[in-house]
Symmetry: C3
Subunit: 346 residues, 3 copies
């Protein structure tokens, strides 16, 4: 944790340079309207220029070409990436359990726990679980029979990992998320819904982050799969046998129904819903609230309910905005046509 830095120190962290007083001391980071004399803010968009004039910030982080600023500046090549560097430098150490096993945790004798693992209060680890080095399990985490958690993972308070699931390295999962609950599948005969046993598990790759209160269901057979580097937000539903590729971004409250496959680097906007058994190609971007009833080719941008190609969506929407007028126009054309027809009949 860093409690304060000089502008020179910040410039060094971001690989940039100071314009103004190198020795000025900064104690934190805040947005333009909120930052005070001992805080750094950042500016990237043109509209930030006017806001800077009114800002009380002691210094501002800007890109090379941003131009003059009313306060000291740290000039860098990529303000968004540099901000991550600065926030990381100012980041207090993440709170959580100390390395070791808290006395209230219950850990099966058959579990294998790696080096430097931190296991919090009332954590439960079942038989044959494997936990990799440096992993942190916050209070109340549950890891079911035979599940494997990689190295450098962090599972927040009350995360539930059911039996037979596998997490890679550097996986972070936030509170109250459930990995490996039974998929929702029944065979209905004579009005009775018979539960389909779900014997498969969940495989989560490396460098995956999953938000709070998200559900990743276990598969019927095979595995539900989340690829390396994919990031999933809060309250997302990933159904049984779904396969998500690498580097995807899945925003909050998205629902992905059973056996649907996403390629790599797919971006799914908030609240989008994806039907079961479809394929979303690599690089697809789905707008927020999209309802996707069928497969989508790689690289496509889609929106709407049902989702269509994005420019088509824009055209249709513009047309719908004018639809009441169109009805009036057709009514008027109809009258005029009738008049002409009457005249022609005469």
């Amino acid at each position: 944790m860093t409690e304060s830095m000089t502008l020179a120190g910040i410039a060094s962290v971001v690989g940039g340079s100071v314009r103004g007083d190198e020795h000025a001391v900064i104690q934190g980071v805040a947005t333009i309207g909120v930052a005070g004399q001992n805080e750094l803010t950042w500016a990237s968009a043109p509209q930030h220029r006017a806001m800077l004039a009114a800002s009380g910030a002691g210094a501002v982080l800007v890109n090379d070409g941003f131009g003059e600023t009313p306060m000291h500046a740290v000039v860098c090549e990529d303000v968004d990436a540099a901000l991550v560097d600065v926030l990381s430098a100012f980041s207090t150490s993440t709170p959580g359990p100390a390395v070791g096993v808290h006395e209230s945790a219950m850990i099966s004798d058959s579990a294998k726990i790696g080096q430097n693992v931190a296991i919090g209060r009332r954590v439960i680890i079942d038989d044959h679980v494997v936990i990799g080095d440096n992993t942190v399990l916050h209070d109340g985490v549950f890891v079911g029979e035979g599940s494997r958690i990689g190295s450098d993972c962090r599972l927040w308070t009350y995360v539930v990992i059911r039996e037979g699931c596998t997490l890679g390295d550097r996986v972070t999962i936030h509170s109250h998320t459930v990995v490996g609950a039974d998929g929702f599948g029944y065979v209905t005969r004579a009005g009775v819904h018979r539960k389909i046993p779900h014997l498969g598990g969940v495989i989560i790759g490396n460098d995956v982050e999953i938000g709070a209160s998200t559900c990743i269901d276990r598969s019927k057979t095979d595995h539900t799969i989340i690829g390396d580097g994919t990031k999933i937000d809060n309250q997302v539903q990933v159904a049984h046998n779904v396969q998500i590729g690498k580097g995807c971004i899945v925003c909050a409250q998205v629902g992905i129904a059973g056996s649907t496959k996403l390629g790599d680097y797919v971006v799914v906007g908030g609240q989008a819903g994806l039907k079961d058994n479809i394929e979303i190609g690599s690089g697809v971007m789905l707008a927020a609230c999209a309802c996707v009833p069928s497969s989508i080719k790689p690289g496509t941008k889609a929106a709407g309910s049902p989702a269509v190609e994005y420019r088509q969506f824009l055209r249709e929407n513009a047309s719908i905005r004018r639809l009441p007028d169109l009805v009036s126009r057709v009514n008027e054309l109809s009258k005029r046509l009738k008049k002409l027809e009457s005249a022609a009949d005469d």
Copy 2:
């Protein structure tokens, strides 16, 4: 707790009067179709009149102008408000931990606990936490480092409050809600999503109620803010740096993306989705399922996906209902026009 009341007693609670037997004893409240001889029901809408005729209720709560009723009545000025008074009178004491600290709770020595606080089984309170007077923490609640909970709050079973968050007085939060999980933010360079550290917290005002399984994320810098008197339902997603004003009503499954601001007394219907970085003015009403891509002026009623002004939404929808007909009509006009054109050519 009141196990039974006379109609005179009920009339006194609601500031009304009895029409019928003041001494009749009522043991509970139920809806018109369900209420029995020893229960009170309530009627406000015109369609309730016919239902009352068939009701087995011993008495009914009605407004002054409601007219004759087939059973005893308690007549008042505001039946909906009076019903709250009656339900409060019949309300059994809320179950929960007794005043004091349960022996299974784990509380940091550096935490400051107010007077008359009730701390349930297996509650965890981390370093430097402050808990106000009369607050109730149900079983398994977690309060992270440095967070401050006001007076007269109630946090239900398994609520998670992460580090550095602040709750005002009289705040109620229901089970499995997570306050202060990391916001969902990455900077993507060369296909790698780098996590943005989230150093800010969450500030929740006074008299706020938050439902079950809701997520209020912490901010990148500054704070995510929920204003005084705002009520939030179950499974709502409030992203990082969102600011919600006073007295708002946010229904279930709503998603509000990062840095969006809501004014005061905004009503957001269930499942509505709000884009990031927009402003929803005070008094705005958003219909259920609205998908809101851009800022909305104060006092506007909006609906649809994408959301438009409400009367425009109604007009567009009416037009869409007739759209298949419109297509037919245009086809027909086209034919008739062609015929006229042919005739003119001859």
Copy 3:
């Protein structure tokens, strides 16, 4: 648990016959593309025929009329139902607490616990709770004052059942689901939202399954009701006083607002939203993402936002796809009509 079966054994389980080597040993079930030499797969759709040719599966489960297969086959009458039989036979015993009460559980002296009940680590059972025979409560489950759980139920890790709720027999509820949180109801007077006390409970019938992170709110008066045999997926919101009939299927992320009633065998697609105080007749099928603003007659299939009858939805959607063209056509008709009018004027 069965670790391996011969094809003859599998045929016996499904009431079918073997085509090929009866003595071939199968150790598990997998999908066509994944199954290996010692695994069984299944095929039902015509497109599976080509996939079978490329499959490494040792055997395949098919219906009578499916025809030749490139590997051994188990032939049956109903492949989907037979697959459930086979998966059940291969199903490892569900992990969970042993019969008895774990020493870390906290159980009120006034609770009545049936025969053969398995109560896991840190389960909390409050006063006057009743738990039926053979029921399994996984670790950390909370059951509030006076609630009744039937026989042969299974409540997964961290399920919360608030006070005064009733579950029938053979009810399964997945992790982090909350039954009986307060309904979301306020009476607003002079800008102040007064909480309506919720004195009712929740009644869940027999043979109900409820997914993870779902919320079933308690009622204001009377009860929120889930009928026998109904299956509810993850992250579903069921508001106060909702009544759901028998045998319904409610997919993930559905929201049902207060006092709405569903008949029997209603199917609600994922993310659908249902307004408060409406009635959805028996046998209704609502498409995924439907937004339902008003009551729907029994047997209707509906879709869209707002939802309309399904064929109407299809027609409207087809029209919307062509709407930009329609605008162009009307523009063109308008020009041609003007020309005719000018000619007529001459």
